[in-house]
Amino acid sequence: MDSALRAADDDAALIRAAQAGNRDAFQQLVTRYDDSVLRLARGIVRSEEDAWDVYQETFIKAYRSLGKFRFECAFYTWIYRIATNACLDYLRRVANRREVPTITTAPEGEELDLTDAIPDHAPVANPEQLLLGREVGTRIDRAMRRLTPRERVVFELKHYEGLRLRTIGEILQMSEETAKNTLFRGTQKLRTALADLAGASRASRQRTQLGSAEAE
């Protein structure tokens, strides 16, 4: 591949071409980043249709605002910023809808979330996941709802996307220190909410270790 073609591959060249109105160049930018955006959206909103809304909103906003992009940050940071803002808007909307509480107490005293009865439309890869993952997944999703929208997004970007907190701070336009504190608060809430599962996983690990010791 010659250097001119390589240059066209670069974000900067694509951005400039897209800024000049070239739709194909914009489409190539979409293709470079949309898997990350969609993965983030699906991780946060956990539903097919809402993930599409976030995906669409992100790239339409990017298309409308691309003329204002001045290369002051990486394009990746910029597009993630738009996507995380769309996710934050979604989480705030959901939080407002939840002003009518859905958490109730069962006769046995156990706390129940009525929305858990609503089927999860996220596709399940295989029956094993259905059996093992669904219970854990549902519990984790419920634990995640205890996080504020910002804690939720920081946690998702850190735990599931593996981004560095400095980068997360740039995306969310907060200091690295604030990102650290936000992650800490989020993990504390999750730890409390999932304490029994974490304890169970320890017990099951101990059982496994005991079993293998006996087998020996």
Binding site: C73, A74, Y76, A125, V136, E170, L197
Partner: protein
């Protein structure tokens, strides 16, 4: 540090966000504090549980369907608002504070022409890509992935054996070493040349690329840096790298001309006049005469006159030969 503060450190350590000294302090504390050691284990177990959440897979088929739905939505959108003046400004500047000088009619016409020319050139560059076979683009994906998640270039340094060493962040910190024109390294250098915030890194990238300034891509990047970089030292470095291109490349001459007319820094403008005088004598004399005639800045006019004198060209009407060039602003 108190146990309460170590609790925060534990969460950060679990996610690899403690620096060496902090991690060392934490390890030391965990060895002597049973309570914090238990907290650490609890946090590790919570992390393991969170890892068990089934991911919603992003399949190529799903992405393809989303892309096609998005394309339909974009069809309903108008193109990003960008008029012809924006195009000229976008390509040539103005460097951060707007055009400082009123452009004379000759230069306006020249800049408009150059704007159309460069617009046409950039269009044909992209058009060339459009006509590239799909397989060629698809076959390139691993190479694209190398820089598509690039967030920051942290340092660039030459090695003893004539190679370049680059450290950068994508999701994690990476480092790579090789010749400047290796495709991956060249991308990193071109990216670094155009991306704030570290002017030192931008200077280093231009240093590493300057030996290849006759390459079209490198030259275009240098022109962009010359028109847009906020740091005059970086713009001077780019100008110097473009020196060789003035003789044979009209685009370079246009970029240098624009710098003479609109750069905010007198040192950069003076250097640009000197660089422009290295164009073929007829072109150099014509361009310098035009600048001297159109500019309202006394200093620029004097420097042009000095260069014209060296070229033995007649001074434009109304332009006095300089006695001694002095900074006018």
């Amino acid at each position: 540090m108190t146990c309460e503060q170590f609790e925060r450190a534990i969460a950060l350590h679990i996610y690899g966000e403690l620096d060496g000294a902090e991690a060392h302090e934490l390890q030391h504390h965990l060895a002597v504090c049973a309570n914090c050691a238990a907290q650490m284990q609890a946090m590790q177990r919570t992390r393991a549980v969170l890892d068990a959440r089934p991911a919603a897979p992003v399949s190529p088929a799903l992405l393809a369907s989303y892309r096609s739905r998005l394309e339909a939505s974009l069809d309903e959108e108008s193109a990003p608002a960008r008029g012809w003046m924006d195009l000229i400004h976008g390509w040539f500047g103005p460097s951060h504070q707007g055009f400082r000088y009123a452009l004379g009619p000759g230069l306006v016409a020249a800049l408009v022409f150059i704007g159309f020319l460069s617009g046409w050139l950039s269009h044909s560059r992209v058009a060339g890509r459009e006509s590239a076979p799909r397989e060629q683009v698809a076959g390139n994906i691993p190479e694209q992935q190398q820089t598509s998640r690039l967030l920051r270039v942290n340092s660039i340094s030459p090695t003893a054996n004539g190679l370049v060493s680059v450290t950068y962040d994508d999701v994690h910190q990476q480092s790579v070493e090789g010749p400047a024109m290796d495709p991956h390294i060249e991308r990193l250098l071109l990216y670094a040349a155009q991306n704030p915030p570290n002017a030192g890194v931008r200077l280093d990238s231009i240093d590493a690329l300057r030996a290849h300034a006759n390459d079209t891509t490198v030259r275009q990047t240098m022109l962009w840096v010359l028109a847009h970089d906020p740091n005059p030292g970086v713009r001077l470095k780019a100008l110097d790298a473009l020196r060789a291109g003035v003789a044979d490349d009209a685009n370079v001459r246009a970029g240098v001309l624009h710098t003479i007319m609109s750069d905010t820094n007198p040192g950069v403008r003076a250097e640009a006049i000197e660089v422009l005088s290295q164009a073929p004598p007829d072109d150099a004399a014509r361009l310098l005469e035009q600048v001297a005639h159109d500019t309202s800045n006394v200093y620029v006019r004097l420097r042009c006159a000095a260069q014209l004198k060296q070229l033995n060209a007649p001074l434009p009407h109304g332009v006095m030969a300089p006695v001694a060039p002095t900074e006018a602003r």
